[in-house]
């Protein structure tokens, strides 16, 4: 009996991990049926519809899921040979579904020969390529900032702050009126990084644009850099009442409801939040502004980077159809549908996308080259980010000190890829 229990337990725990490592194709190979796995819920559906209309007779099997779940499932599918023909791939490195991570063992098809690949601006090429070859069709640009609920802001009689000092005053005044400045839903741990990135962009990169290069060369550390200032400001914001009560018990979903319905005056998030807020409050208007991390607006920098794009399974049996789809995504028509549905900015100049008026500030920052990529995109492994995410939850719950989190991030960074 004992042995049987032990064996059953072993089987339950271990069989999932014992599959092979050869990539395979998602569907039959007739170039008529395409399988796609995506995280772009709410926007990819429109692109797929338009793609099918432009390619009669083609069937698309689309599955969408949240980023956390997707990153976990795509690795298993790739390793077990059940991955789809076309899949979401994140730019750069630093997360389990990123270009470098998946291209390195040869799971992605080289797309360097496609006409759009050479047209990508350099900032995007850097994160769409691995060892000089393009693997990721990055179609959209995302930025992070403070997104205000215009109606709630007007009702409060307050004005969006323009400096760091204003920001803290704004938070105190908003909290005093019973409608905290920003919704924060850090029960979902990926959300913890967003406000920090908004602060780090200005605090770290306005003084040192080459910080990433120095980190990679071992000449800089998180704990010995203005990352400490940014961490400190994040906590100052918390103390000043910038966020609603109990952020650790609030989910990302619940935080959207707070900001959309005016229970907070806004939310610090990526531009993708505007579409989600409008779904919850169709009558509302929302405006994104740079989060004022210092008292000198001329130094403001916004985090902005290529969003998740699409890669093709190297072992697909529907290569032609997969490339036709990727070409469509990167065409002016496909890019327009995708970016308008997501509220993101196009990566290619001739896309003719109508940008949400609430993103005027972000557009200006991109045009003026006052942006930095999301910090994790050039980190050497996924662990640095995970340490930061759980570390920030620990800081918010009083289990850890910001300095210790940065030290742990340094340790993981130095462990390399």
């Amino acid at each position: 009996m004992k042995k049987i229990f032990a064996a059953i337990a072993a089987a339950t725990l271990l069989t999932a991990c014992s599959s092979g490592t050869k990539a395979g194709s998602g569907s039959g190979g007739d170039n008529k049926t395409l399988t796609i796995a995506s995280v772009d819920q709410g926007s990819i559906e429109k692109v797929v519809e338009a793609f099918k209309a432009a390619n009669p007779g083609v069937t698309v099997n689309l599955s969408t899921s949240g980023a956390d779940q997707y990153q976990q499932q795509i690795r298993t599918q790739l390793a077990s040979g059940t991955a789809p023909d076309v899949m979401t791939v994140w730019p750069g490195n630093g997360n389990p579904g990123a270009t470098y991570v998946i291209a390195k063992p040869g799971y992605l098809l080289d797309l360097s020969g496609q006409p759009w690949a050479s047209k990508l601006p350099d900032a995007f090429k850097k994160v769409a390529q691995y060892e000089g070859k393009t693997y990721n069709a990055v179609f959209g640009l995302n930025g992070i900032g403070a997104v205000y609920n215009d109606q709630a802001l007007t009702k409060s009689g307050l004005k969006a702050p323009g400096t760091w000092t204003d920001l803290l005053d704004f938070c105190r005044a908003a909290a005093g009126k019973g409608t905290p400045a920003f919704a924060l839903g850090i029960q979902d741990n990926w959300v913890t990084q967003i406000a920090l990135y908004a602060l780090v962009a200005t605090d770290v990169y306005s003084a040192d644009k080459d910080f990433d290069t120095k980190m990679a060369a071992g000449q800089a550390t998180f704990a010995g850099s203005p990352w400490t200032t940014a961490m400190d400001k994040y906590q100052q914001m918390n103390t000043a009442g910038c966020f609603q009560k109990n952020p650790l018990g609030t989910s990302y979903e619940a935080s959207q409801t707070l900001a959309a319905t005016g229970k907070t005056l806004g939310i610090i998030q990526g531009n993708w939040i505007i579409g989600l807020l409008k779904k919850k409050n169709p009558a509302g208007t929302f405006t994104m502004k740079a989060l004022p991390a210092t008292d000198d607006p001329a130094r403001f920098i916004m985090p902005a980077a290529a969003g998740a794009g699409y890669g093709v399974n190297a072992k697909t049996k529907n290569k032609d159809l997969a490339i036709t789809f990727i070409t469509y995504v990167m065409s002016p028509a496909g890019m327009k549908i995708f970016n308008e549905a997501q509220g993101s900015l196009p990566t290619l100049p001739d896309a003719g996308t109508a940008v949400d008026p609430g993103l005027a500030d972000l557009t200006t920052f991109v045009k003026d080259n006052r942006t930095v990529p999301f910090m994790d995109q050039l980190w050497p492994n996924a662990k640095v980010q995970q340490t930061m995410l759980s570390g920030l939850q620990e800081v918010f719950s009083g289990q850890a000190k910001p300095a210790d989190v940065l030290k742990d991030m340094d340790t993981d960074y130095k462990a390399g890829s």
Binding site: K2, A9, C17, S18, Q71, R75, Q187, P247, F396
Partner: protein, 299 residues
Amino acid sequence: MTSDRKKRLRGRTAPPWWFTVPALSLFAFVVLVPSARGVYYAFTDWDGLDPDFAVIGLRNFTELLGDDDARQAIWHTVLIAVAVTVLQNGVGLLLALGVNSMIKTRNFLRVLLFAPAMIAQIVTAYLWRNLLGPDGAVNSLLDGIGLGSWRQDWLGDPKLALWMIVLVVVWQYAGYSMVIFVAGLQSIPKEIYEAAAIDGSGPVRRFFSIVRPLLAPAITINLMLSIIGGIKLFDQVYALTGGGPGHATDTISTLIYKDAFTLGEFGYSIALAVVLTVIVAVASAAQYTGLARNERAAS
């Protein structure tokens, strides 16, 4: 029965060992071989993707010894397993004694109390995640009955979150333990109670002298199931807190999942799974031996 007679009986009735070959082959094919292959990866640095990986001996296991997160997760796992086992069976036994009495609604109550065990774990976990949210039903209820000062961030407070997980598991599975206890209680002949009552024993004495010893097989099964379930707990933890805040509610199972699928450290994660397997095997074997001895002593 003499030992000679036992031997003769066994010789006559026991089927030849090779009758088990088909079943054992199937078991080996679907369970043992994949598990052994899985264990092999615990000695490699496989990242779950790259077919080129190296055999690194015991490095994953030695790293595990020095990993604070792993040690913390093992501690949380033990805490949850013990708390769930004690509470689930305590509550289950009380419910069983209640619905085994002659009250009119006992059949309805049995169904009602067993119902949560029929719902998927992930569904109840998400339900409770909403109920226990800062503006969820639990806090609203406290406000409503004038206990607003008791409001808590039930899942966001690292001191409370682990116990909320235990509470949800007990809520869901106390009815399951109850059903097994009820089956055990119904197998106790009424005459024994009646004889004891005539002899003048009270309910407490009857419980300890009659119910507890005769319920021993049901207790063994319930304790085994709840301790194994508690050690392997994953769904509720992942859905309620994701192991957070920070690592405050991480168990071995959630850590295995995160290390494998988020960090791509499959080799390390499988090493953790091997440790979990050993813990489950040792705990259930020790418990089974102890309880079986108890059962024999009681009968």
